[in-house]
């Protein structure tokens, strides 16, 4: 049994806006074990990115973490001081984002930025930092590291920028790497390279990875465990095979069925009726109930709690996984 690197209990992050309160993350609990790649899967507005930012306490105004615990390596991140948190970021927990162009400072060279990341956590000389920078750039398969250190972000391609960002993130061998849609803006061939890189890093350094994506193909290739989020809560959580073959929550089932499978041709794709609810105007009861084929009377009144329907497989649904499950065998 692997030790837990991250243990989140009932995390709540709300945004207090002029038009009302947005419950972006409304009671999210999960854990990440050492060396695991855990995926958070969901569509726009489900709260997956806010969850990631909450872990690092990078929530912008008017948002605020109002409840829950984020236990990382024995410490509750919600309670530690700003200074302690700052020291953790980039060192023990790192994050990479979707758009490397806006995450890299355009007026500094790659070499400067990676070196700075190193020197902000280790007391070493500039030369030593540069040496480690070059090493790190090689590790992320950036060819010609001597040339790349002198370049500015806009002089690199999207894939190279993403690698540079990964280099900055892992330079202090963090325990946990949070990757928020790391390949969404990249071409599919580059995406494959980056995903391979992340996997290689996990294998080499035993880094745990929290991978956030709306693309089930990416989740499937990378993750051991998957959590599906909808309207600020986790609706289902299981290992990746179970999620694909025995999805129990109606939303997950709908999602899996909508995913285009390269090895199958459906004449008409199955869809989920309705649209994602307005976060300012969530329906009473289970947030998915207006779109759910199996909604019962209780679903419109009360919010279901997470129940374990089989070992390791959790669902937040009053039908508890018994709504006619689609069992997939092989394709």
């Amino acid at each position: 049994m692997n030790e837990k690197v991250l243990d989140i209990h009932n995390l709540k992050t709300y945004f207090f806006t002029r038009r009302g309160n947005v419950k972006a993350v409304d009671g999210v609990s999960f854990e990440v074990s050492k060396g695991d790649i855990v995926g958070i899967m969901g569509e726009t507005g489900c709260g997956k990115s806010v969850t990631a930012l909450s872990i690092l306490r990078l929530i912008p105004h008017p948002g605020k973490i109002i409840g829950g615990e984020v236990i990382f390596n024995g410490k509750n991140l919600i309670e530690i001081s700003d200074e302690e948190m700052r020291q953790l970021r980039g060192k023990e927990i790192s994050m990479i984002f979707q758009d490397p162009m806006t995450s890299l400072n355009p007026v500094y060279t790659i070499g400067d930025q990676v070196s700075e990341a190193i020197r902000s956590h280790q007391d070493i000389s500039r030369t030593q930092a540069m040496r480690e920078t070059l090493e790190m750039l090689e590790k992320v398969s950036l060819p010609d590291s001597l040339e790349v250190v002198k370049k500015y972000p806009h002089e690199l391609s999207g894939g190279m920028r993403q690698r540079a960002m990964i280099a900055m993130a892992i330079v202090c061998t963090p325990l946990l790497l949070i990757a928020d849609e790391p390949t969404t803006s990249l071409d599919v061939t580059i995406q494959a390279q980056i995903l391979k890189l992340i996997k290689k890093l996990r294998n080499t350094f035993d880094t745990s990875v929290l991978l956030i994506s709306h693309d089930f193909g990416v989740i499937s290739e990378m993750c051991d465990k998957v959590m599906v989020m909808y309207a600020g809560v986790i609706v289902e959580s299981a290992d990746v095979y179970t999620i694909y073959e025995k999805p129990a929550h109606p939303y997950t089932r709908g999602l899996i069925k909508s995913v285009l499978k390269i090895d199958m041709v459906d004449d008409v794709l199955e869809t989920i009726s309705g649209i994602v609810p307005n976060p300012l105007d969530l329906p009473p009861g289970c947030p998915f109930n207006p779109r759910c084929r199996f909604a019962k009377e209780i679903c419109c009144r009360e919010i279901p709690t997470m129940t374990e329907i089989e070992p390791g497989h959790f669902v937040r649904c009053f039908n508890g996984g018994k709504s006619d499950r689609c069992k997939r065998t092989n394709y």
Partner: protein, 293 residues
């Protein structure tokens, strides 16, 4: 949700809402609006509000300090300061609105064509605007006045011409950025003419910066006009105009300061009003501040 949690959230919501600074912003804009509405009110109802005819001279009663008969005193020719200041509102507002209208119409036209078509046309137009903006307004006014003569009419023209530059630039900027939007490409794919695209698609989406600029321009137009009248190149006597009043009051600054104070205050307040409203509008119409987060 338990009651305790509900209470906690409500408390946090309160603190956050104050911090937003919305309220502060709205206050200043409201103030600006109130000031301007007051001035418009005064300007429109001048004949009913002014106790005397602003042009009637009473030489024996010249330079009287504020008293019960003449609430703001009289000027060097014995004319009632209050009535002149009130009528001055009319003059200034008229000048402000008309000069801004000229600036806006020509500025939008030039900016639209320049920004939409680009190329050599754009290059030349922008250089002309650069030239226009580098000439000090006073010099420009002197030029206009020497060609056309000094009058209220020509002040409007001079100030109007000066104001074209910022409008042209703002609209050109809008054109350039909105041109890239997909709905513009779609309009062209549908067969929309350039004219239709400019007037139906791009300009309506450029309203915010144009409105903000128009508001601020009116303030500066009034200021410019007052300045020109002050040096004799603008509104001619005996028309009541604050700049003119400042000019004639200047000699008597120490002996009869009321002749300078009241028109001066009027200028300050009216320009302040436009600026506050303009700033408030700019913030309110800023699309980045709209929406949830």
């Amino acid at each position: 949700m338990e009651g305790g949690m509900r209470e906690k959230i409500r408390k946090i919501a309160e603190t956050h809402r104050d911090e937003l600074g919305d309220f502060k912003r709205d206050r200043t804009a409201m103030l600006g609006l109130i000031i301007l509405v007051a001035f418009v009110f005064v300007g429109v109802l001048a004949p009913f509000l002014a106790p005397y005819d602003p042009l009637t001279q009473r030489l024996p009663a010249a330079r009287m300090t504020p008293n019960s008969e003449f609430l703001l005193g009289t000027d060097e020719l014995g004319r009632d300061m209050l009535s002149r200041t009130i009528y001055g509102t009319r003059t200034s507002l008229q000048i402000g609105v008309m000069a801004t209208a000229i600036a806006m119409i020509f500025g939008v036209l030039i900016g639209s064509i320049s920004g939409y078509y680009g190329g050599l046309l754009d290059f030349i137009a922008m250089r002309v605007i650069d030239l226009l903006l580098s000439v000090p307004s006073l010099l420009l006014a002197i030029l206009v006045v020497s060609i056309l003569g000094a009058s209220t009419h020509n002040v409007v023209i001079a100030v109007g011409i000066r104001g074209i530059g910022p409008f042209a630039r703002v609209v050109r900027g809008s054109m350039l950025s909105i041109k890239k939007e997909y709905y513009i490409k779609s309009a062209r794919a549908l067969g929309a003419s350039d004219l239709r695209i400019i007037f139906r698609h791009i300009l309506p989406n450029s309203l915010s910066p144009i409105i903000t600029l128009a508001t601020l321009s009116m303030g500066s137009a009034i200021l410019s006009a007052a300045g020109l009248s002050f040096v004799g190149l603008g509104v001619q006597p005996p028309t009541p105009e604050w700049g003119l009043m400042l000019s004639s009051g200047r000699e008597f600054l120490l002996a009869a300061p009321h002749m300078v104070i009241f028109p001066g205050l009027a200028i300050i307040l009216s320009v302040l009003g436009f600026n506050l409203l303009g700033d408030g509008l700019r913030d309110a119409l800023d699309p980045r501040l709209k929406g949830i987060i």
